[in-house]
Symmetry: D2
Subunit: 281 residues, 4 copies
């Protein structure tokens, strides 16, 4: 399915600043890019950091110099495939069988303090036999217990806060999902991307859990269609995958995101019956 | 019912220290004291602070001088009464009708950050119509969801931690109960006391919620019989009602508590059917 | 010195709400009130809660009923006196000599977690011999190390956050001052009031420390003149002394505060040399 | 310099457990290993995870099966070199010039919440011109302001706690150093290893800061000689580099660590004048 993606960011620059931008779609085995365009106005020094190791994100590093405003425009066509994996294929592997590359996603991170959620996760989800069913239950629990409320949280909010404060945005929903998975010894990682036809349009965050050594995608906000996601970045949590990590001082003054596909048919629960979705293995 | 109470505390004194002790039973309309005895060995300077305002706790203030060990012994016979209030008499009063003396027990305190638990309390218990039933549900929820685990918490642990970490001791259970009540605009206060025949014997903490302008006692640990409690102190939380608040440096090296009554019959759920217990109004 | 005080609050009421208002000046031995006027438009049910015990604050309790907006207007003339106490009179009393009524102000509270700041307070201020000089050093340290920054904190911010995040408003400055005093076994309490000619005009918060059994006023923001303060409330922290504690849902949509005196001469550091200011003993 | 290393760990296994062990020394350009020996008694299933990407740590993964005790023994001879870099060679590079591989070490992590320490770091160290001098000042500040106190912290303690609580062990000292560096936009990473002749003998943790694109080693505890360190692991913080990450339930019941070298001469401040130490670039 080809997705047309367009994003614009407008910043006011308050002092000379270096920015790590992370809004480029990733090129992966299941995600082919074409017609990519990236512009910064006025012209400032920037570079795309080469990917040195498989699994790294695409960072643009730019130095504002002495400009006072920045307009950033990005467009791409992303052709994605996803794999459907039947529940039977999602084996219940113990930590002793998890593949090495997934192990770091068992560790607690800045916004996913899984080390402090062990008892809660055990009580709420420990009685469920299979890890896939556990993650489905976690995702449902988040949807049912956390209010999606713009402005209720900030860049410092973590899963430990959200589990009690019970409100947040997609980033917070993802962090809580990840933290609860890790607390049950299920590797989980942060996903950011574009989401086809999502309302309101915005960058989106959800998460992937490693079950039977497959990375399965979950969206506890239920705002996106799982077959309409285009990956920007993967990470331990939002610290790894911010759209913009700012070293200096500048403010977002405007933003526009769109992701569309002429013939997009969102997969619904019925289409998924008995199957899970893998975006990238 | 007369309860025989005896408590011994042994401390090693590491530097000259002032201590506020709070282990004397309170004399109230429903709690009559006799045969009270209090001794500190070796002899050090101490005073019982006079109660200036109704509702204050009984503090002993002592100055260790240069002794290196302290043996503190307290005995009393406490004759208590409690009142049974039928559920029908527990009117659902809004904050606009709550009596003034209960209002400070709506505010968040050191260990009961009710201001951060509003959404959680609303989601879990907000659908329950009557405040009495809400507090019963809170008490049951704590019992079912929090592990009673000695050593799992320390003097810095608060309700905000416990609701996520899901383990604690009687103090933590009480703090969480109080915080959840206040988050629902139900005044709640900390109770410390002696508990007849409790196993293992120890100082106990639970909480009282103000419903229909009656202070109803609840014990989310289910360790004590509600008709077997002898009040030491009341407060916003444990900050107000520690057995010993230490200004200096000394360590508890031994402790013994007993509370017995020859003919004590603990009230069980059946005895309580349709009624709640008020210790002091 | 007579101060003319006028305050207006405008609220949008989003659902039926009970409010505890705390904007009336207190009548004390050193603060005489006249020409007091209080109005709520449109007319709703309200009462002033009688003060039952010395030291309580003046609360107005109102029930919005079904109005959708509220205009609250308060005016008063407050004639205040303050006492100047020479440093020599501020004896260095140990906890064993502090008067009973000050003891609760040694305990940690919601926004003043003195129990977690003991080492920091000891390291920064423990080497200073006299408690008065310690509190002066605390007040200076806060002024020098914390940025006064509107909007940098919210109603959940506490001293434990501020000591690290290093930004806040008057409320946060006061909380940190209180917490550091208590960590050094110096009783400290929260003060809210009107501040003559303060820029920008607003409700103000600072704190009082009990030294030699005198309550000395300190303002770590340096925004107010210490002889230009009119007390609204005293408390353990802002939980006890909010201008408005809201049980329900309403939003402040406008506010105006003024406190003036025709002949006001602010006391400066030179006027204070060797002396401290007591507002109420 | 060849270091003789020997470590023994004794565990009681309370339920079947998978463990990631991370006590093997790393083989790097500056660290050559010989005579390595690793034993687990009784025999259980274990594997050494192959290093897939440069920079990864050496993990042993073991599955306890149904044994109830584990004895783990590790020995190695590590021949290390370090590089001395003169201060003049440590250029003050902005984030726009930092090499890609160091960028993730600018992000906040579980135990190093640099995002919350920006103002504090700016106030304490922002006035220092050069990043090397900033890190030296951070290291000195930690040594002077934090008490090294065994048992004062636990596995959940983070830099945000330590900066206020002012006590900790080597792990906490390292976390605080890392967090303060990152808050100043200096990449910093966690180092664990063996430390020659350290008293008392133990696994050690300190940190490396990336200055002028060199990774310079710093030890804010001052317990180790910087030329006597043998690297076990590198990571964002202790979440990445625990000696044992336990998935299940087992308890450490005994531990012995030694690291010696017959002719070891610890480098002191005088030997270092004007130079910094790089262990691995």
């Amino acid at each position: 399915m080809p997705f047309q993606i367009h994003a614009e960011l407008h910043y006011q620059v308050l002092q000379r600043t270096t920015v790590l931008l992370n809004l480029h779609a990733l090129a992966t085995a299941n995600q082919k890019l074409s017609d990519e365009s990236f512009q910064i106005t006025p012209g400032v020094a920037w570079e795309e950091l080469p990917i040195e190791t498989s699994g790294e994100n695409r960072y643009i590093r730019l130095d504002t110099g002495d400009v006072t405003e920045l307009d950033i425009t990005y467009s791409v066509t992303a052709e994605t495939r996803h794999e459907m994996v039947s529940h039977e294929a999602l084996h219940d592997l113990s930590v002793s069988q998890i593949r090495r590359s997934a192990l770091p996603f068992l560790f607690p991170s800045r916004y996913c303090q899984s080390d402090r959620l062990g008892k809660l996760a055990g009580k709420e989800f420990g009685g469920i036999a299979h890890p896939y069913d556990q993650v489905v239950a976690i995702t449902d629990w988040i949807f049912e217990n956390i209010d999606y409320l713009s402005g209720s949280t900030d860049a410092g909010t973590s899963a430990f806060d959200t589990v009690t404060q019970r409100a947040g945005v997609c980033r917070d929903f993802a962090h809580l999902g990840i933290a609860l998975c890790r607390a049950l010894s299920i590797p989980a990682r942060y996903f950011t991307g574009y989401a086809c036809d999502m309302q309101p349009p915005d960058f989106h965050a959800c998460f992937e859990a490693c079950i039977g050594n497959h990375w399965i995608i979950f969206d506890p906000t239920r705002l996106s269609a799982l077959n309409g996601l285009v990956r920007i970045a993967t990470g331990r949590d939002a610290a790894d995958a911010s759209v913009a990590t700012i070293f200096g001082k500048m403010q977002l003054t405007g933003m526009m995101v769109s992701c569309t596909s002429p013939d997009f048919q969102p997969l619904g629960p019925d289409d998924l019956a008995g199957q899970a979705i893998v975006l990238d293995s």
